[in-house]
């Protein structure tokens, strides 16, 4: 049923801040939607646009990129580079018919476990409202294999 839809969010989390924020949210037992599949990256600048497109094609309903606040990036300006890419990527994805809410960039410091959890909750609600993406199946007209595989692999 549509109202039970549990979106899949692929989360690219910076090792130095947001990944620790997610850890903190866990140890502090913050309750938030179990929708994010976290992937640790060394910096938001490591997130190539290809990663995002691939996640969307392979079954993600949304992609969350989370990193250090401007001025706090471990590699000085990696997060600003990420913001430049992300801004252009959003404009391009609009042309592909992908709603703005499906790809988000947030800043979450290592101490901001609660903020990260809130971002995931917020995005989950937005994706619920938008409904599933299921690119291969619904846009490319392929069989639903990819999504099942993804659910078994990472959702199980």
């Amino acid at each position: 049923m549509e109202n039970e839809f549990q979106p899949i969010i692929v989360g690219f989390l910076c090792n130095w801040c947001s990944y620790r924020a997610a850890d903190l949210a866990g140890t502090a037992r913050v309750h938030y939607a179990p929708t994010m599949r976290p992937i640790r990256v060394m910096c938001t600048a490591r997130v190539e646009p290809e990663f995002v497109l691939k996640a969307l094609r392979e079954g993600a309903d949304g992609v969350l990129i989370a990193g250090c606040h401007p001025g706090e990036c471990h590699y000085v300006e990696g997060n600003i580079k990420a913001l430049r890419r992300f801004t252009l990527l959003k404009a391009m994805l609009r042309q592909f018919g992908v709603e703005e809410e499906r790809v988000q960039l947030v800043w979450a410091a290592a101490s901001e476990g609660k903020q990260l959890a809130e971002a995931v909750d917020r995005m989950t609600e937005q994706l619920r409202a938008l409904g599933p993406l299921r690119w291969r199946q619904r846009v490319l007209g392929e069989q639903p294999v990819a999504r099942h595989a993804l659910e078994v692999e990472v959702g199980g």
Binding site: P49, K54, R85, M92, Q95, G97, W107, L140
Partner: protein
Amino acid sequence: MAKPTFAMYWAASCGGCEISLLNVGELILDVDAAFDVVFWPCVADFKYQDVEGYPDGFIDLCLFNGAIRNSENEELAHLLRRKSKTLVAFGSCAYEGCAPGLANLTTNAATMRTVYTDSLTTDETRGNLPQPVSQVPEGEISIPVLYETVRSLDQVVPVDYIIPGCPPEARQIAAVLRAVLNGMPLPAPGGTIIGAGNVALCEECPLAKNVKQITRFYRPYEIVPDPGICLLEQGLVCMGPATRSGCGALCPQVGMRCEGCYGPLDGQDQGARMLAAVASVVAAGGSHLDEHAQAREIAAVMDTLVDPAGTFYRFSLAHSLLRRARVADSSA
């Protein structure tokens, strides 16, 4: 001994690939001498039935240009695959969809409206739309079915080789033809790229790169670039960083940005790579600004890049990671 057989076919294409083959000059006479042409609708009157009558694997070398956009294209792709020993995706349309593939950003209905109703030079009062089936005195005739999604040749049948380019450079075609004519071994088949380089176009582009950052983008008609200097650093969206070498960087050398016709490098998504390259030449969003001002300044610069999807994927959309846009009535 009978001569080896040669075929060339056009599916959804502009015809430029056929011309590019003739651009090899006198070498075409050697091709004619060495091969028996058994199918080539552009230059000789063969019928599809002739091809159907050939035994499987009868055609030694088939150059297939054009994307797969309708049922006729698809039928011929299957037929020529069956009848050919070596099937080559010739040119950007067959390789990656090229300009026809840009239709994947919209719907068939919208494309038809633009062509048959909305275009300024169309007399829309006649309301003439192509009819799938028509009655004529001789009986019923039908036209091929237009597909919602344009595909590359290798998305429909396996191809042995790919020669990129829009169109492929004569020099590169000649090198491949000479190799075939002299019986030299080609690399192992299986969607293998031949007649092109293996590095980014920037590496064969002689324009000076000064690692300069920019604060806005220009469309080609808006500025006359300084000669001798990298176009991307002057604000023109030159696709060099995301495009396969092989043409000799023809366009940038005459002041025209590379549009990306040789397609992406192995395993890359051309649009995504270009997006990353473009983002790294933008100067906006310095650390002296606060978070909101940073985001605003970056957005303002990116806004000057008109039509990112159409620019980054001008040639490779149908073969890219996403392949097509998601549209309201998307039924692929």
